[in-house]
Symmetry: C2
Subunit: 418 residues, 2 copies
């Protein structure tokens, strides 16, 4: 069979299966999650064997050590894959919830019912845990899924997907609910992204080039997760002890992730007092500082920031710092340079805090808290499939709810429209 | 200036203005709606004059009488345009609402704030009221708007848009918030639909060919409103008096609109009793019936339905009727032929009613009510910008809420992530 016909078949079968997953009972979906965990634990040796094959081929292909590390499974990593399945089983099922039910003057009652989207396509790179946690979130939300992982993790992903499908059979969910694209043909992705008849939404999980490729190619909606150029603005009414703690935490607690801060904006009225303290604390933690001229006056160790620094997502122990003459200048800087992921203000002034919350157009906006909180787990959403930097459908951390949609339901008793 | 540069300018100015509209007070937005109403009433003669010019040019171009009718303004139609502005002023402002605020174990409080989308593009056909009600809904929801109407209504739309922009100046909203594309160059639409840097969402308002053209061309999200091939399923547990009232209302109360029924599915157990009554009532109302063989046995006047009839949106006094052997067959028929707009079941059986609500994948699903209720006004949403047949972002009737989005807001007191 040629690639196009094969991929179309996988997607069409997923669409058919989605009608059954969509009405599956919560207990059935949870049973599948627990069975999958069991199957993966029981097949741990076979999965590690498949992973060793991928690692061997990756070494021969000359993959970087960072890529090989992302690809590698260990007992501990398999344990965390299995734990994620238990966590997702423990989450409430969003499907079927009816909200905003109200009676209208005509006598009908109108509400909104939360329902699955249908089929979710996942296009991802080398981390094999994505195979399991994406499928788990999609099925729990009542969707079928079509998985297309990176070719370098092909054997590992296939071994994992096999266990998920075996668990399907055991609990009575069609195994075709978990479409796994069994070819490393690169053309497969392009074909997948044109099958809007069968695939309702695509989630790319990986670096910016992958996301851009998917966004440009796909004709169905794409849930995008672009970079996080996150800002902390320290206002002139800030409590400087809180500000110091928040800045340091936002930058260094885990610098390689999208909700880490990349630029601090400091109000000039507090720059003399705050910047030397901040500079000292950052340098102590080995953070490289790139500052505007006003920053460098107060932190002599700071390098000179260029225009490019304001747009950079370092994902590293580097921070850009700019002194701003006013609250409005901080907003302007953020409007111009932010990637609309997460921004925080540190201030004790209520009116400015509320203005910042309202006027900053980012997926998460915070007052007196570290940007590192921008996370599905921290927000109480449970596991997340990504952090959407799109404005429509889902914005910010996306958990089960973002994998569902709503429809109107109307309860009548014979009403007609006059 | 060339068309591309001109359109880009309009859109860029709208984007800049959107930051001001987005934070405008409710009172300012309402003042604009009332001023616009005043301006339109005061300029009624000039607007009618512009409209007469469009009508004259339309006659010369040989427009159909239906098109000329859609295009024509009268005193009464201007009154209903003005009334719509008052209605929108009376709606609650969705912007700034914070929902689901809860405190997390870390001590932060997390909620969602409803915020404007940014700039909405409206691409529409010949009905000039769309100029006013689209702009009114967009501005009330805190968005800027870029309007591109049909060339045959150009002078009328321009006259209306001028009044809206004049009202902007009077209340202190930038007139560039209402971008009006002052060219009839057809290339303008294509260019507009590529400006995703400035335009966040596009709403096509018009017939299917327009919607398809916009959906295919636009690189930003499109709120689509495809046809309504709506079904009423009369179950074997139906109260046949209710069923008759609902069927007749769904078909004939206003046959030319998208939430009118186009197919009835009748359970065979009640076909002998119900179909002759239904046939009689339909024929009395001059409805043409196209039936399956089982229908024609019970309604001899019915013509023979072909496969094509099950997919047809007649928008006319024509109905397709099929007898189905079971509830499951009704679901199957709907899955195969529905346009996922609105479907209703008539039944007194609770379990089947709830299964129908859950399993039918349409934007509105009803029990014992006429499909004609699928409407923003009837649902209590106020004025609507369309009825979305998309599954993501907004589904079903779209009012002010569908012209907004949500972001996460976090209230802390110095919390950092451990």
């Amino acid at each position: 069979m040629d690639t196009a016909a094969y991929i179309t078949d996988v997607a069409r079968h997923a669409k058919e299966a989605s009608r059954i997953v969509g009405k599956a009972a919560t207990a059935t979906k949870n049973a599948w999650l627990l069975k999958s965990a069991e199957e993966i634990r029981a097949s741990q040796e076979a999965i590690l064997e498949a992973n060793r094959l991928d690692i061997k081929m990756g070494r021969e292909k000359g993959l970087s050590s960072a890529m090989l590390d992302r690809l590698a499974l260990t007992d501990e990593r398999i344990k965390s894959i299995v734990d994620a399945l238990y966590d997702i089983a423990a989450l409430p099922d969003p499907v079927g919830e009816i909200s905003n039910l109200s009676t209208r003057p005509s006598g009908i009652s109108v509400g909104r019912m939360r329902v699955p989207i249908g089929v979710i396509g996942i296009v991802y790179e080398s981390r094999p845990n994505v195979t399991v946690d994406s499928a788990a979130l999609c099925i729990k939300a009542g969707n079928a899924v079509v998985l297309r992982g990176g070719s370098e993790a092909f054997h590992t992903n296939r071994a994992l997907a096999e266990r998920l499908r075996k668990a399907c059979q055991e609990v009575g969910i069609p195994p075709t609910s978990i479409g796994f694209v069994e070819t490393t043909d690169r053309e497969a992705v392009r074909i997948l992204l044109t099958l809007d008849r069968y695939i309702d939404m695509v989630v790319p999980r990986g670096g910016k080039p992958l996301i851009e490729l998917v966004a440009e190619t796909a004709i169905m909606p794409v849930l995008k997760h672009y970079e996080g150029n996150c800002h902390v603005y320290v206002d002139r009414f800030a409590d400087l002890d809180k500000a110091l703690k928040i800045c340091i935490n936002a930058k260094i607690q885990r610098p390689g992730v999208c909700n880490a801060a990349e630029t601090f904006l400091i109000h000039e009225d507090i720059a003399d007092e705050f910047l030397p303290r901040l500079g000292h604390a950052l340098i102590e933690k080995d953070v490289e500082i790139r500052g505007c001229p006003e920053t460098r006056k107060r932190i002599p160790e700071a390098k000179e920031a260029t225009e490019k620094d304001w747009d950079e997502e370092y994902l590293d122990l580097i921070i850009a710092i700019r002194v701003v003459p006013s609250f409005e200048d901080a907003l302007d800087h953020i409007t111009r340079h932010s990637s609309q992921h997460t921004e925080a203000i540190v201030t004790e002034n209520h009116s400015l805090a509320m203005r910042f919350l309202k006027e900053v157009d980012s997926s998460s906006v915070m007052v007196n808290a570290s940007t590192r909180f921008s996370d599905g787990g921290q927000y109480g959403l449970g596991a997340e499939i990504g952090i959407s930097t799109d404005k429509l459908h889902a914005r910010g951390p996306v958990g089960l709810e973002g994998l569902t949609t709503q429809k109107f339901v109307v309860f009548g008793n014979g009403q007609i429209r006059e």
